[in-house]
């Protein structure tokens, strides 16, 4: 018996669509597909009720470390761990200007968020505006505004002249230490985007704003195909 494709089941779960007669017949007879659909429906049903993930404040880690008596220096262990968390890349990436040679780059720090108009606080102050210049052999340019708001910092990125091409554009904040980077999310090359960034990030050295062209390959790492870039003031 050929089971129903997971993507079809996901579509049924998401759109609450009535299956066509063939699929309906199969679902009546097949426990496995019915079970699979029920699980997907369970996830689909709570999708509007997911909480925003929050990270504990820094002192929690300090207390844990001192309570268990870790011999590794505090900051180092965690900083190292953070840069090795999700989406880490260990490939080398040649950075222009401020970072000459880079050995390994880590992407981590969950919790950045693409903002929509609804989320934006009205009382924002623009802390910095920088130009994003094309890298050698690339076309396009843009700007990035660092905005301080009561809810935290935001980075507003606008681009122009980026080529229309397969794949998608992604905004990254690269640390000037050349060792760490975080992905802020997908950029619409025409309308731009605004991304929430943790308040302490720029102070920690995440100041290089980088827009890369990413292939649709499912690889979360930086493609090494940077198109435009600029550095926020310290």
């Amino acid at each position: 018996m050929t089971h129903l494709d997971d993507e079809l089941l996901a579509e049924l779960a998401l759109d609450a669509r009535t299956p066509d007669p063939g699929a309906a017949d199969h679902l009546r007879l097949c426990d496995r597909c019915r079970e699979s659909l029920a699980q997907l429906q369970e996830v689909a049903q709570v999708r509007a009720e997911l909480p925003r993930l929050e990270l504990p404040p820094a002192h929690v880690w300090d207390q844990i470390r001192s309570e268990v008596g870790l011999s590794t220096p505090v900051g180092e262990a965690l900083d190292h761990a953070r840069t090795r968390s999700r989406g880490l890349t260990r490939r080398s990436l040649a950075l222009a200007a401020s970072v000459a040679a880079v050995l390994g780059l880590g992407a981590g720090v969950a919790g950045t968020l693409l903002l929509t108009d609804r989320d934006r606080a009205p009382s924002n102050t623009v802390e910095a505006v920088i130009r994003l210049e094309p890298l050698a052999g690339k076309t396009g340019d843009g700007n990035a505004d660092l905005i301080r708001s009561p809810a935290g910092n935001e980075l507003k990125v606008a681009a122009s002249g980026l080529a229309t091409t397969p794949g998608f554009y992604e905004v990254w904040l690269i640390n000037v230490d050349g060792k760490r980077m975080v992905s802020l999310g997908v950029l619409n090359p025409r309308s731009g985007g605004t991304f929430q960034i943790p308040t302490e990030m720029t102070a920690e050295g995440y100041r290089i704003v980088d827009v890369s062209l990413e292939p649709n390959d499912g690889n979360p790492e930086h493609s090494h195909d940077s198109i435009i870039r600029g550095t926020l003031p310290s």
Binding site: V46, R47, F168, V186
Partner: protein, 187 residues
Amino acid sequence: MTSAEADAPSPADIAKGFADGDEQSLADAYARWSGLVFTLALRSLQDRPDAEDVTQQVFVSAWRGRATFDPANGSLGAWLTGITRHRIADRLAARSRDQRNSSAAIGLVDAGSPPAHVDDHTVDRVVLADELARLEDPRRTILRLAFYEDQTYPQIAETLDLPLGTVKSHVRRGLIQLRDRLKEVQG
């Protein structure tokens, strides 16, 4: 850090290091799961200092009790989630004891205690939020817009300048990924 270093530790790598008592793996585990633990505690207890205490207790007791963790017998994420549930339940029970004592002290009839257990639905939602934050882009951004912002597929396609079919396909595959991760954590 050098380019010779291995890729990011997978949850399985962290779990193995943890069981072996490798200190870096405690930091790795904290970096990977502290958001999950803290958010779960915060949602259940509705109190920030209590949630911070619970987060601290979970990682301290997990580290001290690492000999009882068997990587062959389930994931570290699921094990930490289990410890978190116990710690939250302890905190809720202590709260209701305090409440009973103070009611008794002032001569009030015990009006019944709130349940001292962690709601499964809360656990599932926090686990899913944690997994969503770990999806690769553009899937992560697409699912955020679909789930948190309640945008329609055509709106997302416009926001991100991606083809509509690509958006739909990412939402479907993302849902499957989330389901798979939920099954793993639920064991």
